[in-house]
């Protein structure tokens, strides 16, 4: 997306003139220095955080902890992904947390009471999310009530709904093995490697095809060396991760073996790739950005603004449903607190920390994943530190501020250069 096209004129963009791997690096360095940093600040914040925890608690760097990280952060990350769509419009969904609770409760209740197979129950849960999103979106887009108020009302109502569904506060256990596997089981090691190979191959193929097609049209394309480099980096880091996750991490290998990539990892990856495609490569995604950036301009361009808004809420609530399913799976149960307490704030926080703007028009699904990682690492690391209740709150707040501060200071340099 960042390819630079020279039109007649004099000012110089170093890299675009002769795209080569060296020039591409120079251009990237220049972009970063000039302030266009993409995901860099969030990644930086994440690295600082990991370093701090690794020094404080060596067990932070063990294979088992690495695997835990993914399952711990999964639900929040998935909900945050959905929230990105609503935030892109400059709206908010306060009810996403409890919506995930409602959908989880629907899953649990249908599993227990109807005896239908797991996939039907999951579908019911997601369908519940779709209905919720449609109602919320319609109230916002058609009736014109501010989303903060609509979703605050929903936030209250869904608390009640969860209570009704779980019969006034009882706790429903989920006994379905497949549902419970999502957040508690791992892929067999060979399957992890197979998926890894597939991902790398697809990535390489897409990159190559794109470059070929652009070259054919006479547009500036990435040089082969650069593509090779990117694919190589992906292969290296993803390979390291898969290898780490395939290590034996049981504390009692004799008793039970614990290896492989947690099942949530491919789930999150698929969602990430899918929604990124939707946002970046479909007309719907483009229109979402347009409405968020300048609603009036979008309307004048003939974009059905109301429909876009409703769709965003539908996506948000359905992703909340998926998040609810993951949470239910992880807890193997649903109770009235599912999706409550800090879930919503953490999810919105994850999206914002990743770089999504609350004013709309700016954000990526990847932001939610990066921000979700920050939140998960903080929770995970703080869990290792063993502080008392009050100190833990204090330290968690400070650590969050630290991670966001690194990010903010990095971005501030960009703003100073006149790039906003």
């Amino acid at each position: 997306m960042n390819k630079v096209k020279e039109l007649p004129g004099e000012a110089i963009v170093a890299a675009a003139q002769a795209p080569s791997i060296k020039n591409s690096f120079l251009a990237y360095a220049q972009r970063v220095r000039g302030g266009d940093m993409g995901a860099l600040p969030a990644v930086l914040g994440l690295l600082v955080l990991c370093a701090v925890f690794a020094i404080a608690r060596p067990s932070f760097l063990t294979a088992i902890n690495f695997a835990n990280l993914f399952t711990q952060g999964a639900a929040i990350t998935v909900i945050a992904m959905g929230l990105v769509f609503v935030l892109l419009l400059g709206e908010i969904d306060l009810s996403a947390g409890y919506a995930s609770g409602v959908c989880a409760a629907v899953l649990a209740v249908t599993l227990i009471n109807t005896g239908l197979p797991w996939y039907v129950c999951m579908l019911a849960a997601i369908l519940t999310g779709v209905v919720i999103g449609t109602v919320l979106g319609t109230l916002v887009a058609k009736v014109g009530i501010p989303s903060f108020v609509v979703t605050l009302a929903a936030f209250l109502a869904f608390q009640g709904l969860v209570l009704v569904l779980v019969r006034e506060g009882t706790n429903i256990s989920i006994r379905d093995d497949i549902v419970n596997a999502i957040a508690n089981r791992n892929l067999p090691p060979w399957l992890g490697w197979a998926l890894y190979a597939l991902c790398v191959a697809i990535y390489a193929a897409v990159q190559l095809r794109r470059a070929r097609s652009r070259t054919k049209r006479g547009l500036v394309a990435d040089p082969l060396s650069l593509i090779a480099f990117r694919v190589g980096m992906l292969a290296l880091f993803a390979g390291l991760a898969v290898a780490a996750l395939n290590l034996e991490r049981s504390r009692n290998p004799a008793l039970v073996s614990l290896t492989g990539v947690p099942i949530v990892v491919p789930v999150i990856l698929v969602l990430l790739v899918f929604w990124t495609l939707v946002l970046r490569r479909t007309g719907f995604g483009r229109h979402l950005y347009a409405v968020g950036g300048n609603t009036e301009a979008a309307r004048r361009a003939g974009i059905p603004v109301d429909r876009i808004k409703i769709s965003a809420f539908v996506i948000c609530s359905s992703m909340a449903a998926v998040g609810g399913i993951v949470a239910a799976s992880r807890a193997s149960s649903v109770d009235p607190n599912t999706g409550g307490s800090s879930v919503l704030l953490y999810a919105v926080g994850a999206a914002v920390i990743g770089g999504t703007s609350l004013f709309g028009g700016k954000g990526r699904v990847l932001d939610a994943v990066l921000g979700g990682a920050v939140v998960a690492v903080i929770e995970n690391g703080m869990g290792l530190m063993g502080y008392g209740a009050s100190v833990k709150y204090l330290v968690t707040g400070s650590v969050l501020l630290l991670a966001a501060g690194v990010d903010a200071l990095a971005r501030k340099r960009a703003a100073a250069a006149g790039l906003r």
Binding site: R57, S59, T62, I64, N65, N68, Q72, A75, I76, L163, E168, G169, T170, N171, I172, S173, I174, N184, S250, R251, N252, L255, V256, A327, R330, A331, S332, S333, V334, D335, P336, N337, T338, G340, S341, S342, V343, E379, N380, G383, L384, G386, Y387, G388, A389, S390, V391, K392, Y393
Partner: protein, 347 residues
């Protein structure tokens, strides 16, 4: 206080401790009751330190996700015994299952994880707590010679299973009286998250709608105090008996001043000591035996258990709580309460 570094090693028997393994304790929250952070943590720490066992005590802050994360982290950190106060049975069971699969021994502390199959269960009888509250309220109403009194309920959090157990307890005592026409059932509300501020508004509205309320079954001292504040505003304090639980300084003071009728004292130290004893034994690789057992209604299995008896506290036996060291005289007998303390025989 100084809960900054809880992962401490005993100095006296470091080598033995290293062999002995490590105990992880997860407390549920710090807001529904002050006991977890002020009492349980203190007593458990003391017991573990005395036994020279490594320990790690954390609080899940009423967050299920955090609860599971902490459990993961404790196992990662090398705990060999896991003692949990579950937030709900589902997450509790997941944690226990995970721990068992890793060869980590488990203890249910204060709350039984239904269907969880923990190795031991140490607790007060929560239904019994409710029964004491119901009986206490009846006693106070009888003392006030109330005729067909209207009794209002301020239940605990609708999402807290313990609140359900308390309610079962006091319903067991009071429902027959409602049915028999001796008492009249008044308005009833569950207080979200045991929030005292909301409890105040809820009770104020109950009183507006039903001005003749003559007795309040409040599930703990905080809720009781919220009701008392509203009663005070209407100059009804002392005339309408209010119950409580936890024997907090505030609750005991309200009892001394006559605004509260009773509270339920749970000798946390006994509970903590019993649990710590089991945990230390497990950490050292022993297989301790429990004094009794409890039937898990869900799995039908018998869980070895240590059960403590809660105690009802009225004006006359407030001194027991002080004598137990659960509350100090300095905290309790401040200012105007000094005279009352003397009256109640606290020295």
């Amino acid at each position: 206080g100084d809960s900054g570094q809880t992962t401490s090693t005993s100095t006296s028997s470091a080598t033995e401790a290293a062999k002995a393994g490590k105990v992880g304790v997860i407390l549920p929250d710090s807001k529904s009751s002050a006991r977890w952070e002020t009492a349980d943590r203190k007593y458990l720490e003391e017991a573990f330190k005395a036994a020279g066992v490594q320990y790690d005590i954390q609080n899940a802050q009423n967050d299920k996700t955090a609860f599971q994360t902490i459990a993961d982290q404790m196992i990662t950190n090398g705990a060999t015994v896991l003692m949990i106060v579950n937030l709900d049975s589902g997450t509790g069971k997941t944690v226990i299952d995970k721990a068992k699969s890793q060869g980590v021994a488990t203890i249910d502390y204060d709350r039984l994880t239904l269907g969880g199959g923990a190795a031991y269960y140490v607790s007060f009888d929560n239904t019994k707590v409710g029964t004491l509250q119901g009986e206490g309220l009846s006693k106070c109403l009888t003392d006030k010679k109330a005729d067909k009194p209207i009794v209002a309920y301020l239940n605990g959090s609708p999402t807290d299973n313990n609140a359900t157990l308390f309610k079962a307890g006091y319903d067991g005592v009071l429902k027959p009286k409602f049915d028999g026409g001796e008492y009249v059932k008044g308005p009833e509300q569950s207080v979200p998250e045991w929030d005292n501020t909301q409890a105040g508004t809820l009770f104020e509205q109950m009183l507006t709608e039903q001005p003749k309320i003559a007795g309040v079954l409040a599930a703990n001292d905080g809720l009781g105090n919220a009701a008392i504040t509203v009663l005070k505003k209407n100059k009804l304090n002392g005339k309408v008996p209010v119950t409580g639980q936890d024997a907090t300084v505030q609750g005991l003071q309200n009892i001394l001043s006559g605004d509260q009728c009773m509270t339920v004292y749970k000798a946390v130290k006994k509970e903590a000591d019993a649990a710590a004893k089991l945990a230390v034994a497990l950490a050292k690789g022993e297989k301790p035996t429990a004094s009794s057992s409890v039937k898990d209604p869900e799995s039908g299995q018998d869980v070895p258990a240590e059960l403590m008896e809660p105690q009802a506290i009225y004006f006359d036996n407030v001194k027991d709580v002080v004598a137990d060291g659960y509350v100090t005289k300095e905290e309790l007998c401040t200012g105007d309460f000094a005279a009352k303390c003397t009256e109640a025989g606290i020295s």
